[in-house]
């Protein structure tokens, strides 16, 4: 049997040696093109809008009109940068959570983070006056409370493995907070407070200022940096615990570090932008399609794609109609549509 086996292998044509190297180059080219596209869209986004006329501000006008310059520098620039960071944080967080929980269906709202933030925002609008920074602070605080509760609950639970317990705890805590949000909505003054809560929960970047951007920047940058530095380790952490351990990893500690980084970045952007769904679930899948599953390429691709997707959605949200469409609605619309297309094309994968 042995002899037959090895002779079979001798008959098989040897693989071209450059194939793997060719794939590495292709991966790098994909990342380069995505980066270029993001840069281009960032610049174009500064010109897109409804001043002076719908859709487009010409560069010459920008040069001559001081009002247009003010608008671009003080309103559009912080908003465009925030949209980009929002997409990056959510998509990066999605990739990280999917890999450390070994489950491609996990997304940043998982573990009570989004619902906790929503509760915090609603609470501060109702009882603390609703000043923007206060809403953001309260949302961040309750997002962390959501995470901590999920974690402690999973630690105490006596059922199933660690990951299953975390998932169940996350579901339970999210449900608690969303019941709380429902209660706050019921108690809110329908004319003054309820619209604020509803708009916050729809998700959007209207009225984002430089101070909002500065508020979320440290947490997002720190979170993204940790993710990027540990991007190859993510592959290792997607193995089961014993194998990761046998390869010299400290699965518990490394997962905890990445989890904190991912949730910090998410809580910061959610506190400013409200709940924007789908990006954290969809973009990591799309990125893996483009570059392969290895997170050393899939994570950067996910960050770039996330930024791109959020930016385009936000551009459409503020230019399509005279009034603004909530970003959360557009992101869900395009996200779900794209997801459907991906599901239907799942089987069309080239296999060598």
């Amino acid at each position: 049997m042995t002899a037959a086996d090895s002779s079979l292998q001798a008959i098989r044509p040897p693989p071209p040696a450059s194939l793997a190297a060719g794939r590495a180059v292709a991966g790098r080219r994909t990342l380069f093109l995505l980066g270029l596209a993001l840069l281009l869209v960032l610049l174009l986004s500064l010109l897109a809008g409804r001043y002076p006329a719908p859709f487009w501000l010409s560069p010459t006008r920008l040069w001559q009109d001081p009002m247009a310059r003010q608008l671009v520098l003080n309103l559009r620039l912080p908003r465009v940068l925030t949209a980009c960071l929002l997409g990056m944080a959510l998509a990066g967080c999605g990739t990280v959570l999917q890999m450390i929980f070994r489950n491609p269906l996990v997304e940043p709202g998982f573990l009570g983070v989004s619902q906790g933030a929503a509760f915090g925002a609603a609470f501060s609008i109702l009882y603390l006056g609703g000043a923007p920074l206060l809403v953001e602070g309260s949302a961040t605080f309750f997002a962390c409370v959501g995470l901590a509760l999920s974690y402690l609950l999973a630690r105490r639970a006596r059922y199933g493995g660690w990951i299953l317990r975390l998932v169940l705890a996350g579901i339970a805590v999210s449900a608690l907070f969303s019941a709380g949000v429902g209660m706050l909505k019921y108690l809110a003054d329908p004319l003054t407070q309820l619209p604020g809560i509803v708009f916050w929960m729809l998700g959007g970047l209207w009225g984002v200022t430089w101070s909002d951007l500065l508020y979320l920047l440290p947490a997002v940058l720190a979170g993204l940096t940790v993710m990027m530095l540990m991007r190859w380790r993510l592959n290792l952490l997607s193995l089961n615990d014993e194998t990761a351990f046998s390869l010299g990893a400290a699965p518990g500690r490394e997962r905890a570090l990445l989890l904190v980084a991912a949730v910090a970045a998410t809580a910061a952007v959610v506190s400013v932008a409200g709940i924007v769904g789908w990006i954290g679930l969809l973009i990591p899948h799309l990125a893996r399609r483009l570059t392969g599953a290895g997170a050393e390429k899939a994570l950067p691709a996910s960050l770039l794609l996330g930024g791109l997707f959020a930016l385009v959605c936000d551009d459409l949200a503020r230019t399509l109609l005279a009034g603004e469409i909530p970003l959360g609605i557009l992101a869900s619309l395009f996200g779900a549509a794209l997801f459907l297309v991906m599901m239907l094309s799942k089987n069309i994968r080239v296999q060598r």
């Binding site: 040897p14 991007r231 380790r233 089961n240 010299g248």
Partner: protein, 262 residues
């Protein structure tokens, strides 16, 4: 145990372990000496403590009593990186929910040789390709793992452990899910690895596997060693019957042992 103690690359003495909470000891006063470059099979019925022993040898679990020595040093004294350069694991079934290519997966075996946060480079790629070649899978390097057959996946897992360039390889039920052909392929590669000087320690609930490739066998029952030594002495009808609790017969067919139950 009487297996030339001086050459032991992995030695265990007086090992006892119980999971906290449950009072029952999983392993009791277990001693074991594994000579370099040999294949040792840990045999025993389900629940006899095989998997727990493997987890102790890996360092995931800490024993309450006894010591484990790897290449002459206490297992505790190694850093995770040092340890993982000497000791590899082939788990029973590796469930990976992402579409890594075979090569990407095997490259994970290079982790013990990378600086913290380093990404594997060309030299690591060459070692990984070499490991794939040793498992006879070079032609599958670009295939996503989910498209591989069960046997191919087990071989890729072995290749991933080989990319660690370990001195000792622990294998948990290496042929449990395989059909006859794949089982033969895996055994063939394991024999070759032992011939190259890698020490193999495998668990199995199937004495037939030990009869096929092991030099030594250790029979475990309820956390204690029933018998240990060269396979000829351990895999006897009498001992197997006593350990598994059913009548077992052992035949010699063309110099090999065949084990059957009625």
């Amino acid at each position: 145990m009487n297996l030339t103690p001086s050459s032991g690359i992995l030695s265990v003495s007086g090992l006892s372990f119980r999971y906290n909470g449950t009072g029952q000891a999983v392993l009791r006063d277990l001693s074991l000496e594994v000579p370099a470059g040999t294949i040792t099979a840990i045999l025993g019925p389900n629940g006899s403590g095989k998997t727990t022993l493997l987890r102790l040898l890996l360092g995931i679990l800490q024993p309450q009593a006894g010591s484990i020595r790897l290449v002459g040093r206490s297992l505790d004294s190694y850093s995770p990186r040092e340890r993982s350069r000497l000791l590899g694991l082939v788990p029973q079934e590796e469930h990976i929910p992402f579409d890594f290519s075979a090569l990407e997966y095997v490259l994970l075996g290079r982790a013990p040789y990378l600086r913290p946060l380093e990404i594997p480079g060309e030299a690591d790629r060459q070692v990984a390709l070499e490991a794939l070649r040793a498992a006879g899978l070079e032609h599958l390097q670009d295939r996503p793992l989910p498209t591989l057959s069960g046997g191919e996946r087990q071989l890729v897992t072995i290749a991933r452990a080989l990319a660690q360039q370990p001195r000792v390889l622990l294998l948990d039920e290496p042929t449990a899910h395989l059909d006859l052909g794949n089982r033969g392929r895996v055994l063939d590669i394991l024999r070759r690895l032992a011939a190259q000087g890698i020490t193999l320690l495998l668990t199995s609930h199937d004495p037939g596997l030990a009869a096929a490739i092991a030099h030594q066998a250790v029979l475990l029952r309820a956390g204690q060693v029933v018998e240990a030594g060269p396979v000829e002495g351990v895999l006897t009808a009498e001992r197997l019957s006593a350990t598994y609790g059913v009548p077992v017969q052992v035949f010699q067919v063309e110099g090999r042992r065949v084990i059957i139950t009625n």
